[in-house]
Symmetry: C2
Subunit: 286 residues, 2 copies
Amino acid sequence: MIFFKVASLYLSDWLCQLSVTSDKNINIAKARTSIELASKQGASLVILPEMWNCPYSTDYFAEFAETLDAHDITAAPSCSMLSEVASREGITIIGGSIPERSGGKLFNTCCVFAPNGELLAKHRKMHMFDIDIVGDISFKESDIFVPGEEPTIIDTDVGRIGVGICHDIRFPELAMVYRARGCHLICYPGAFNVSTGEALWELEQRARAVDNQLYVATCSPSRDSAGSYTIWGHSTLVNPFGEIVATSGHDQTIIVTEVDYSAVQCTRDALPIWKQRREDVYRFID
Amino acid sequence: MIFFKVASLYLSDWLCQLSVTSDKNINIAKARTSIELASKQGASLVILPEMWNCPYSTDYFAEFAETLDAHDITAAPSCSMLSEVASREGITIIGGSIPERSGGKLFNTCCVFAPNGELLAKHRKMHMFDIDIVGDISFKESDIFVPGEEPTIIDTDVGRIGVGICHDIRFPELAMVYRARGCHLICYPGAFNVSTGEALWELEQRARAVDNQLYVATCSPSRDSAGSYTIWGHSTLVNPFGEIVATSGHDQTIIVTEVDYSAVQCTRDALPIWKQRREDVYRFID
């Protein structure tokens, strides 16, 4: 819990790049082991990948979906595990995402748990990944999922955090909303594919970090997930100056790294782009 | 003039990365020679660097300033030359920037000339470069220049172009305004320095191109400019997918490259992020 030891400047930040299988129980067990491992080494914040309990494939989303009721998550095995581990280890968990069933609809949803096990927030992916590159990749997430209606900002033991899921990172506006509302870190569980991953994944993360002068942390499944969708991997932490603090390849791994929030203020003091915006000319409504 | 030959899909695009001296006449002569050279090789659009007629130093801005009256530019030798060359060669010129004197104030201004020599538009740099990195670089442009009041969009023979100057590139909002108003190319004459250039110059260009799915062209002075401000160089063209089409080092050079506007629509069709924006949640007012 370095975050508290060093005058609120540091926290240990774990990104768990998991290999996802078509057996939900195995996925839950793997995630539990990784989180415990991270916690044993002092992590106060753990981030999981998008669709960590389910292969990223339209064949599985409905079958793997859970009902996420904040007052009773006993019927949701993936979330019950996250809640239990968060509470036992005393850590904050940005729970990647899983398919959520609600009112007959499916959402791509990230659950955030406090160190007491409480479900702090659910972020439902707001921007659907509908892509059609002829001869390369075609995928229409909006055929299956319903988009969420609002940004998600959470005050945690390790600071104010904004959450986006994968394709949400392509929209500068969402990151601007988080900056405007005081976030120092945006977490994007993601599952970019090999078609757009190499060109865009790192670029999007660095752009969001630099434009808003805050930290960006991403977490992806590893490449050997089941299904036809080939994952790019490369979970990464970027600092407010756009530098890559830590990153991974595409294999299953855990990254541990430190987030120094003082870099946020330092960057903003050196180059105060937020104050230099011309709100008399253009303006953002959130 | 390939642009017209290939069904409006291509244009030759020249970026002239000039070495700037403390003799204005020499700078004007150099720029003229470079533009003529570009035109001889078929360029229909030429972009010059920020402050191409003047060292990037507070010691020179007032002395090198010109009065830019669209109806009579004979008293402005830098602009008269651009108008004359544009007309003689039948090309469009995005005239980098020079110090402009108007109503007792100084502006950092880009003049755009049509193939008939007409002054099509003036873009006055909207965001002042005020930076203070302890032990590295400190510069306060707002001590000298007054910022411009509006974005600049120009319909030219080579398409609808948005203009920003250097630090303007750090503001995603300005590029979004240009995207919203139908630009397919944003030109940023710039003069990034070695302190922030390596970390940010390429990243900013690629981010603006990818987020708005359009071309971004930048043009910088070369490194051996007079004065204490060490230029980063690296004039670049980025396509709508964020790929670098052409770039330079930091020495004086001319880049010639082709812009294929069909890539704009192709990228937007494949991944329609503009339509996927959640204007019910956040919105931009320009």
